[in-house]
Point group: D2
Chain length 336, copies 4
């Protein structure tokens, strides 16, 4: 089996996560990683994973003629120029979400991808989750008929630090963007209108940074369905990730994953352990599977299962949600 | 035990339901019922229940000096004048929901009630449901902290006939009004702003009557919480009645009631029987309990657990939702 | 509607329970009750229920020519002579379980019933429970194929007082007898062999009375299926009543009933309220339904749904279980 | 990190499974595998996993001085001599279950292990399963008090082929042996007495081979608890693996694992996908974890978490169950 040679730009938490999965793939080889800060800890990590080269200059990745595919896992503001340069160099690209906080720039990146004929996959890992996939498959099969209502619950176990919030692009662009993608994925239709309500109920510091920590966002889809997403930055019981699609012939809903199925009855109550606590735990398999899918798209010369347009549409919904919140009114996507 | 003498005005489906519960109460006696159409079938029904008198004139109920309390179960447009007249006659009043489709009239009725010092209870039976009560109690206990998100799912198994839709006051006033009350009940806070989306996805005939059959309504509460209600006139799998309250210290959600707990595993799937199919079945005990509570309020001279203001507030939210849908924008209650 | 005139012999907890249900039946009238101890409290209870006569002599019940049916709810040792006398008087009979602690006497009672052509229903109320009925219906429908394994869990929330244990006939005759009947009911086959293990794990006082408080009893059925029942006198979390039937084409299992469906998630755990705590609460509807079925059998002249043979067979299994425990070996029913 | 050099004897299904997990462990290296049949397919498999050597002679594994640990995954009848020889060569040993179908031979193997001071771990992988571990931890924590009843359900999705049944040692030694170990594991006590019932309900061919396909086995534990295991060779709905421990202060039960949490409601029923279908799928993580535990025991010089005595005790219970079935009576372990 020939191995696809891969370079990773940016090896923070998410870059390391992908590297960890890729080194276990029989048809992939992580040849080089780059990061703005090449620390001793990073060198050791690379050595343990058997990654032979490490550089402080992303150009060492992009200009290596042996590299077929790059993972862009650096800060969001670097994504668009890196995509453009990688496309020019003929590399296939896996880019983390969002591609950009300004969807106009994302459009620019997609043009470069198109022009150079490379593949682009974006990091909407939840599409590969066993539960969400089951919802999508069910809707696609027609078993529950035409979708009427799409309901998504998406709550983090704890808010990120203020430093992260500051550069995050805000709750809609940073957190709910996964849910906007999920809404399109399970409804199998485009969003046409958005109305967003937001509140600061968890930490006033988040409000002082101009962001919100709690939101309810309603959607209208092209196929006539209505949707609603509720977000919170802090669900004390763990990562709460559920979807429900109600249709003309039935309803599908998914519950959270738990680390075991035990139910304990005592004189006080019947209880079970909390849901899995964080996204790394909950979506571990989904991350592995999105990487496998990317490698397969390269190997087979086919389409990536989540492409640049998927990133673009989710970013446009996030932009509409942000404007809706600011202006206190529903916003049509065509207004953007 | 002295028995409270009761008269019932309007003995259609809901009037009969109350009568059936009241005749089994040791401290109540249904002395008379009235209906615009006294049929042979009705006479027989009254005889079987041991109700001694039946009249085509509601005044026979209201002017009987022995009657202490009246149930107003006639058409909605008759509620306000009947409340006024009953209050004048010093009768305690149980009135079905909504008191009026025009909340200004409801205010008039409440003035009459106040002036004559009688008790008024309104028919928000779901407050007495074992599941919804548990949600309310949990929130009140502080166990899940301050409420941040209130989510209500309320879907009927099948739409009512066109003739009913025509005079129903529309989805918000007829169906969602229970959910507006439930939102106030579990959030323990008043609604300040409403944004409603509606669609006709089930039956075009409903749209032709100027109504909708599917809706998502979002709410802002005085305590800062956000809320969302989703409604459908047709859930093919049965009556779907769920509530979730998410707060700073946890979350409570209730599942539907089923007629048994059996789970059957076959080579195809693991399945269970559908939820209880309709409101009479699901809320049977709740109807009995709301009547017991009304009798107790009379006997003890205390407050009714669901009063006229509760009816008024739910009607105001319904009016705001209707306007929001018409004008395509969020509507503040204070605008009304 | 002509009312079936009923007398009740023995109005302790269970006699009162039946009386309470019967007075609410439109086609029944409780004309008289008798009890060895006619207290003021009993007189008051009868007055409240509108029962006109009360006597210290059961013969006032049996010899009243107007009485069509009697409920025998007195101590177990009185059942057989009362059945014989009632049958002689031509009364239809509802008798609480067990008919006798000595199945040979039960056979004698059944002969009297047969000879006088009266109806006999025995108090296996669980057959009327919504969950257990669903299991039976599922097995009967063939949906899970031929039964291979029958599993019954039956645990009380707390042991009865020592005075009760002393005269109870022991765990098998007093408590597990319901499960022996349930085993026959859901397996739709007769038990041929029994092996019982017992232990005193809850209260040494129970052991000092010669009884056990914990048991596992295995069964072999005529149709080849195997069965197992586990019993405990004390499940601290409430009444634990579950059945599972595993067959060639699938499996059905029922979970306990809870008083609500709420699930509460906190930082510590996800929990729900305990199962219903006791048999009066769990089987409330089943008691009502067994009485309705008895009245209907009388009215229609048909068979009772649980007859004397059902009592006899359960008692024989209990006797075999007792002997198995004593002798430490499997016991065939034909050995008895 | 120095890598533990490992050889694997027997690379059928289970040997390959372990190899697949071991090659992904950073602290292990599979240096050699042996099998009686070295096919081209096997060579290719080894090449893909990067296993450098492959031999038809197990002695090439046992006599390689670089090998620190061996996995014995060959036919059961070879286990004891291989353990003896491996121990003599000073290799640490992982041996699949059962060590032997004759527990007297297992005792011989354990003596060799003891004499040569090597580590022995036996393949009771279920002890590493997330659900079963949770049960064990719960019991150990004292949360449910003293165990009174241990209930294990263990059903395969489909019977193995006749050729396998013939050499399997029978249902108790081949299949229920996992459950006998689980019973000891969760009860934290030794089994003293066994009574086994068996039947041929699935396939007469199994009976013709002198085996059974359905069984209920009851246990008495040294700590006074009672236990019951039900086994079937064919649960059409998938792999059914559940445990319940009932104690003086509560109860813990585990449900099956499913491949997703989706619940689909249609007009016919509410259903979810079947449990995971087979042991490779259900216990995938448990197999990985038992290997990690073995490597860690070697690295740290500590005890293995499942040792030779665990194998011996489970085999003794299986032998007692077999005798009980043959003689139709309870059998004490001390009788063996």
């Amino acid at each position: 089996m020939t191995k696809i040679k891969i370079g990773i730009i940016g090896v923070g938490r998410i870059g390391k996560l992908h590297a960890g999965h890729l080194v276990r793939q029989p048809n992939a080889e992580v040849s080089i990683v780059s990061d703005v800060a090449v620390t001793e800890e990073l060198r050791q990590w690379a050595a343990e994973l058997g990654i032979p080269r490490i550089s402080a200059d992303y150009r060492d990745v992009l200009r290596d003629p042996d590299i077929q595919a790059v993972y862009i896992c650096s800060s969001t503001h670097t994504h668009v120029p890196l995509i453009e340069e990688a496309a020019e160099q003929g590399k296939h690209i896996f880019c983390e979400k969002p591609v950009s906080m300004d969807y106009v720039q994302t459009e620019r990146a997609l043009e470069a991808v198109k022009k150079h004929g490379v593949l682009l996959q974006t990091g909407f890992n939840r599409r590969f989750d066993h539960n969400f996939k089951r919802v999508r498959d069910c809707v696609q099969s027609g078993q529950i008929g035409d979708p009427h209502l799409i309901k998504i619950t998406s709550r983090d176990p704890a808010p990120p630090p203020a430093d992260y919030i500051r550069v995050s692009g805000g709750l809609f662009m940073d957190m709910a963007i996964h849910d906007f993608d999920m809404a399109r994925f399970v409804a199998n239709s485009e969003v046409q209108e958005v109305y967003a309500q937001g509140a600061v109920l968890i930490d006033p510091a988040i409000g002082e940074l101009g962001d919100i920590d709690t939101a309810i966002t309603t959607l209208k889809f092209a196929n006539g369905a209505l949707g609603v997403i509720d977000n919170s930055r802090q669900a004390v019981y763990g990562y709460d990730q559920r979807v429900e699609v109600f249709g003309s012939a039935g309803c599908i809903q998914i519950a959270n994953d738990h680390s075991n199925t035990a139910e304990i009855s005592t004189k006080d109550a019947v209880f079970r352990d909390n849901p899995k606590y964080f996204f790394l735990e909950r979506y571990e398999q989904a991350y592995a599977d999105e990487n496998r899918a990317f490698l397969q798209a390269i190997a087979s010369g086919g389409q990536t299962p989540v492409d640049g347009n998927d990133a673009l549409q989710a970013e446009r919904i996030a932009a509409a949600a942000k404007r809706s919140l600011q202006e206190g009114r529903p916003v049509k996507l065509e207004e953007l």
